[in-house]
Every structure is written in C-alpha cells, then in structure tokens.
Symmetry: D2
Subunit: 178 residues, 4 copies
C-alpha cells in the first residue's frame, strides 16, 4: 500500500495555511485513488487539521506520535504507530515508512524531515510561500547534495502540489507490481 508522508506544523497554523492544507487533502482524495494512507507525526496543530479532513473524506490515516505523546487522544479511525522513540526518531520512522513526502510548510522539525526524506531517496513536495522556515530550503532545490538521492520540488499552489503527488504515487503503484 502506498504511504504519503505529510510533514506539517505541530503548532497552530498561520492564517490561510489551514485552509490550503484542507484543500490539499481534498485534491489527494479526488486524484490519488483509494489505495493509499497518509502518515503524519501526531494529532495537534496543523497536523490535526489535516487528519480531521482526511478522516472526513474517508482517507486512511497512520500517526507516528513521539513517545512523550503516545498516550494522547487519537481519533478511533487512525492507526497509531508507537515507535518508542522521541520526536526525532519517530520522524525518521515516519519518513522511512512513506513513499513520498509532502511538506506543508513548517519549522525546523519539518526541515529535518525533508532532509531525512532526501537521504532515504523519497521524492519531496514542499509548499512554498508560507512565511515559515521551510521556505528557505529553496536554496537546495532540486537536489540537497551532489548525490541526487531524490528530487526536492517547491510549489506555490497546493492544488498543483497535490496533483503532482498523485501522478508520482500512481507511477509507484505500477512500478512495484513486479
């Protein structure tokens, strides 16, 4: 099963970003087909907005809370993976489990997940123009280093970002049917 990882703010999203995130989930629901799971790092801040919208749209959701928050409340529909690791380690597990990574704007935690995804060879789709720290990662587009492990692409439009993600995901589906 394809896993789309989503790196997003663990805090309240700046105005407008939550709405964009919801629109993104809707495009994923319409264009990615039914056979995928969204993986996120918890159920708070902007991540919660995305999880709620995904569940409303019937998308499967998998959460990787850090050990410090494993006992939080999570919606009954979500599959909660308890890695036994803190914030950083669980981010590694989330990114490794994902086939591709969407970064809906974020701070250092999101940057760490972007770089980890690159190192693990996962294509990365970043929403730009958010006013958050991830915007500056544009200096690393399209490859973080000379080894070209994966492509890092920035999008100004969430709709375009989500459509591109679905194109790539559908390709993966075929590639793995060996």
């Amino acid at each position: 099963m394809r896993v789309i990882g989503i790196a997003a703010l663990g805090t309240e999203a700046p105005e407008g970003l939550a709405a964009k995130a919801r629109r993104m989930v809707n495009v994923l629901a319409e264009k990615c087909g039914g056979d995928f799971v969204l993986a996120l790092g918890g159920y708070w801040g902007l991540m919660r907005v995305i999880v709620d919208e995904a569940i409303r749209r019937g998308i499967k959701v998998m959460l990787f809370p850090p050990i410090e928050r494993e006992s939080d409340y999570f919606p009954e529909e979500a599959l909660v993976v308890k890695t036994g690791m803190g914030y950083r380690g669980r981010s590694v597990a989330l990114v490794k489990t994902a086939d591709i990574l969407i970064a809906v704007g974020g701070e250092a935690g999101t940057i760490m997940e972007i770089v980890t995804a690159y190192l693990e060879g996962k294509p990365i789709f970043v929403l730009g123009g958010t006013g958050l720290s991830t915007d500056k990662m544009r200096v690393y587009e399209p490859h973080i280093d000379s080894r070209r492990f994966a492509e890092l692409r920035f999008f100004e439009s969430v709709e375009e970002l989500a459509s591109s993600v679905c194109s790539v995901v559908s390709t993966m589906k075929h590639r793995e049917s060996f």
Copy 2:
C-alpha cells in the same frame, strides 16, 4: 483502531503449527469484528503463513520488518512500517503499537516480545504445547514479576486462544470510546 500483535516464528513452522496458525486467523476473522489490524514482524516463516491467511480473509495487516529486510517483497495489501531499527528495536515498536499480543509459539525472539509486552502493560496470549522455547515461559504465568503490569495466559487450543483475544479486544473498543 485496535491492533492485535502477533509474535511468531521467523522460520519454517514445525508440522501442525502452520495449520493451527491458519485456524487462529480464521477465528479472529469471525469473532473479532472488522475493525482491527494484525501487526507482525515480517513476511517470512510462520509469519508469512499468517499474513497470507489474513489477507485472504480480508483482515488488515501491518508489518514491522527490521531495517535489514526493509527492501524485501511484501504483499501490496500490507502496510509496511519501516522503523529504521534492527530486529530488537522493531520488536519493541511492534509490541508498543499492539493493544494485545498473541504468541503463536516461538524461540528467543518471541520470548523477548512477550516480556516487552508485559512491561508495556499489554495482555499476552501464548499458544502452549508447541515444543518451542516459549513453552517454558509458563513458569511466569500469570505475571512475569510482582508488579502485575499485564496478564500472561497460556492456551492449548488456538480456537480458545483466538476467542479470548476477541473478547478482550471488544472490551478495549468500548473502554477507549471516551
């Protein structure tokens, strides 16, 4: 969503045990209701028998392969969690993610998962009389130490084991709807 962890041999099962494991999956399918996931540590040995039967019966399956085998072939229906940890660490993540643990007989790896489950407060259901090393864990029934973190129960019949698991799982469902 409820997660039933299954600790099972990573090697070929002794005669009879594979058949018992298949019967167990069928009882789980009939008595546990639809809203649960089976979590296993890989797709080889006795684990593979269980995964195949679960998929055949339409049960959701989540796999926690160790980092050394993350690139193995896994069935398209399975959700593969890549923790980035080796055999031991991924066993910890599997057990922590599970709400209860079934041990279908096994060797030291299964014993390690049983003791980990106890430490994490997960009820443990062990199939006895397998001729494997887990049989001797009976000296620790019903509590591994004086702290009584969880109950360790042995069963001679897989049918009875699976039925008991489903009773406990249905209780959990209600408890968590808070």
Copy 3:
C-alpha cells in the same frame, strides 16, 4: 574497548543485594584490568549503588537513560548516551553495546535484557538466589533456544560471577586484536 553491560533493578534493592553488587564491582576492579567500561541503564535504584561504587574505584561508566529520564542528574564522571528511545529501546542499545551482560537479579526489565543479550550473541552471567523474577530464568540455562546464540549461566556467588566475567573479558581482548 570492552564494555560490560549490567542489568540491575531500577528500584531500591532488597536487603543484602546492594552489598553483593558492591562486592561484585570490587572484584571487577581487581580482576578485569583497567581497560573496560561498565554500561548501565540509569542512575537510580540498585543501578546507582553500582555506578557510585564503580566511580569510587575509578572504573569508567557509561549510562543509557531512557528518553523520559535523560534530564536527570548524572555524576560528572559518567558518559551519558542519549539514544532518544524509551525504556525498552534504550535497553536494546545498552545490550548491543555491551560485549557481555551481567544480570544482578531483577524483574521483567532485566529478563528482557537477558533475552535480548542472548539474541545478540552476548554471554550472560546471572546472579541467582535473589528472590527476584530473574531467578526463574534458570529454566532456560544454558541456552534460551535451540540456536545456542550465547551461553546463559547462573551463579550463587557474586565473587565467582565477577571472576568468570573477567576471564571471558580478557579472552575477548585477545580475540579482537586482529
């Protein structure tokens, strides 16, 4: 550098056991030579008694606290490894880092470390007759399963246990000078 892992109670030791643990450290100091490190899981309960005695005797100490207690006070002389994992995961790292494991009696956490050590091929030396849960692991002496990954030996005398550990450690020193 050789690493001797020590699994010990995280709680106050029963009468007599603390004294035995101190005597054990002194035998290690006298018979193991200077070039080794003791690795423990924290600085509380019986572990603290052992750490304090080791530091008093000038033995190097490395601690693997779980993430929940990484900010505790630790003695300046100790090297504190912060794995970013909880109790179970840090136990895996401790055991893997050790060349051999001593279990000075303990509860389920110690049993988990013993089984992990076996799986990782580390010789295990257990102090018996402690009245704690590890005593019952005797049913698994000398090999936890049929694969014989490592030897599990019980000792009634701490002095004998520590002497045997030093014999094995000195052998390792030579073996690795390749």
Copy 4:
C-alpha cells in the same frame, strides 16, 4: 563528562579539508582541557581522519556506527555505541548525546545532523567555505527558525571554530556543577 559531537563526511574528504580537520583536533586537544569525549558516526571517510588524529592526541573517542556497519573494524581505543538503528536513527542518538555539534563540512547527512542539533538545543559550529552542501545552510544563520532553540554559527577558520567550541564547552562544565 562533556561530549563534543562531530558531523563529518563519510566519504573521502576533498583536498585541504582533511588537513583542516586534523588542525581542528589539535586545537581542541590544546584548548578544551582533558575532560571531554569526541562523538562521531563511524570510522570511514573524513570521520576516520579525525578519529585517528584524536586517538594520536590522547582524546577519548566514542563512535555511533549505523546498524549496517556495527561489525566494521574500529580502533581498540574507541568506545563503540551500537544503537541498533540505521544511519538516520544513529545520527539522532549521536546528536542528542553531544553537548555541542561541530560540522566540518558535509552533505545531506551532515545537514540532517545540524538541524537535529538545533531542535535538541545544541549549539552548532559549522566550518564554511568547504564547497560542500552544508555551505548553503548559511541562509539559516544564526537560528533555523523563530523559536531560537540554539545558535548556528559559521566559521571560515578551523582554528577560530575550535577555540570557540572550547570556550563554550568550558562554560558548560561550570554550569552543570550544580
């Protein structure tokens, strides 16, 4: 005991960089006092150059190899921590264990360690002008995001970098004697 983490290339260093790394180790040996440990991620590439020079100067060394390379040869003087995690997870453990992080120029792996250090509140000292990908992280100087968890500073001179590290380390020593 203070731990100075060093993020460095796992591959052969470009001309000049190895010499700079050796000079850095010598300044640390002269100015940091005896009571610290260097932590690195392995014993290959530029890391090996640094480890060899540190051992030659009598500096204590701790290595965090990824699980894939735990069985490599390591010098007898080094303390080898086996976390049981892959490249990314062991980087998290290395950075968390360190009190401060030096990045001697590197690629995406080093960037990941820099961002992780920031998130864990560890001061970061980066050697600039290396021609490697870490150079571009300058867009994030002095703070990777608005939360100011730690300071990120670039240096053109290794000597100045190492001196600054020693100043900060000596401060830590006093701060922690509570």
